[in-house]
Amino acid sequence: MSIATQNALLLMLLGMVGIFAVMLLIMVTVNLLNKFAKDKEEK
């Protein structure tokens, strides 16, 4: 396997972990915002 392909597989691993980390963090944050960041009139 060439070095380029090895790098590509490593990029795949790091990339997917990174994307899911970002998306999960944003998802959790949005859930928290939906719960706590109410507008004044909603409170």
């Binding site: 380029a4 590509a8 597989l9 990029l11 790091l14 990174g18 994307i19 944050t29």
Partner: protein, 389 residues
């Protein structure tokens, strides 16, 4: 004498086409014509393919004054636009992101945050295509740039390809925009490959929760910070997208929001299409690699869609009946907004005329917008590190 000199120029131009590699310029004139045809007759991304098509003709005419350097040191206008607007600063694709951000309503996603997961899963095709491109003999940087075609996001593809300094930039740009226009053909094919009719008929109830103004305002700020911390190179991409969205959601800057959505986006689109054509010079474009890049780009779109669908099917293994996802919604996790969401809605109605998936698909689709930008940023962060730069 003057008349004879003009005829001499015409003769030189005609001679250019039949000597050396001049035939490649003829091919590019035909490519330019094809792009204009696809844009105007077939309605494929006309706002970009039309300027790119005419630009390709302008830069490939013999002795074109729109590129290269004149004797007095002045640059051809299209080459200047490319160097200043794309090569030197990536300003054009980034500014376009402000307009895109101002156009997007993240409401369906904010009221159903689970859809963020599909915006992540559907980026898998990018990385699979990078690996596939290395198997075709492309070096790692070029392969990474090719993979980003799968982001289904023209500005991100341009920016990543340009930062990675790949000579394949023109082919990547043409592929990215052409395939975005072909989403209504590519996605149904890919989805049907990996789903059964029964799966495509799964109904999903839509109970949108109200989203507060505070959440809508805080969301772009939070996304910028999170993406910037995890993938610092993505911060300009994400930041400009989210800046546009903040203009829209703050409700205090309606004039700026409207300008970003209309005048700014339109102006940049006009200039971007022409600027891109500077890189469509025959000597760089008419090459076997261009054909391979186009093929890999198509594969990236298919892989992305399949990855999103399979991820939805995987989640369904853990969900009770009645709470399952229609797997087609996962396929909408790409960045081609709103085309992908519309395709899913159309497919769902074709299988069951009472199955309305549009809002779920829109949620996944706008998540894909964020996912593709983050994927581009991750590639820009990780690739130089892996190469030890």
């Amino acid at each position: 004498m003057d008349i004879l000199q003009h005829f001499s120029f015409l003769w030189d131009s005609l001679l250019f086409f039949v000597t050396g590699d001049g035939w490649k310029n003829l091919v590019m004139l035909a490519v330019g014509g094809l792009l204009i045809y696809l844009a105007l007759a077939k309605d494929f991304e006309p706002s970009l393919l039309m300027p790119m098509g005419l630009g390709a003709i302008i830069v490939n005419l013999p002795f074109s004054g729109a590129i290269g350097e004149a004797a007095d040191g002045s640059q051809g206008i299209i080459e200047w636009l490319f160097k200043v607007g794309i090569e030197a600063s990536e300003a054009l694709p980034l500014l376009l992101f402000i307009g895109i951000g101002a156009m997007i309503d993240f409401g369906p996603l904010l009221s159903n945050p689970k859809m963020f997961l599909f915006g992540g899963a559907a980026q898998f095709g990018i990385f699979l295509t990078v690996a596939a491109a290395t198997l075709f003999g492309f070096d790692f940087k070029d392969a990474a740039a090719i993979g980003v075609i799968g982001a289904a996001d023209g500005p991100t593809a341009i920016l990543v390809a340009n930062v990675l300094e790949t000579p394949l930039l023109p082919a990547i740009m043409v592929a990215a925009y052409s395939y975005m226009a072909l989403v209504p053909i590519i996605q149904p094919f890919a989805i049907k490959l990996v789903t059964t009719k029964k799966e495509r008929m799964i109904r999903m109830t839509y109970n949108p929760k109200s989203v507060s103004r505070r959440t809508r305002i805080l969301f772009p700020i939070v996304v910028t910070v999170i993406a910037g911390l995890i993938a610092p190179k993505s911060v300009s991409l994400v930041g400009f997208l989210m800046f546009g969205n903040l203009l829209r959601e703050c409700l205090k800057l309606d004039n700026l929001s409207q300008t970003a959505q209309t005048a700014l986006a339109n102006l940049i689109t006009i200039v971007l299409g022409l600027s891109i054509s500077a890189s469509m010079k025959a000597e760089k474009f008419v090459d076997l690699n261009t054909v391979i890049v186009m093929g890999l780009g198509l594969a990236a779109f298919v892989f992305d869609t399949i990855a999103g669908v399979l991820f939805a099917k995987f989640l369904n293994l853990f969900l009770p009946a009645g709470k399952k996802f229609n797997p087609m919604v996962g396929g909408a996790g790409i960045s081609a907004f709103p085309m992908s969401a519309r395709v899913i809605q159309k497919m769902a109605l074709k299988e069951d005329n009472q199955n309305h998936l549009l809002m779920h698909a829109v949620g996944a689709n706008v998540a894909g917008q964020i996912g593709s930008v983050v994927a581009g940023g991750i590639i820009l962060t990780v690739v130089p590190k892996l190469l030890g730069a």
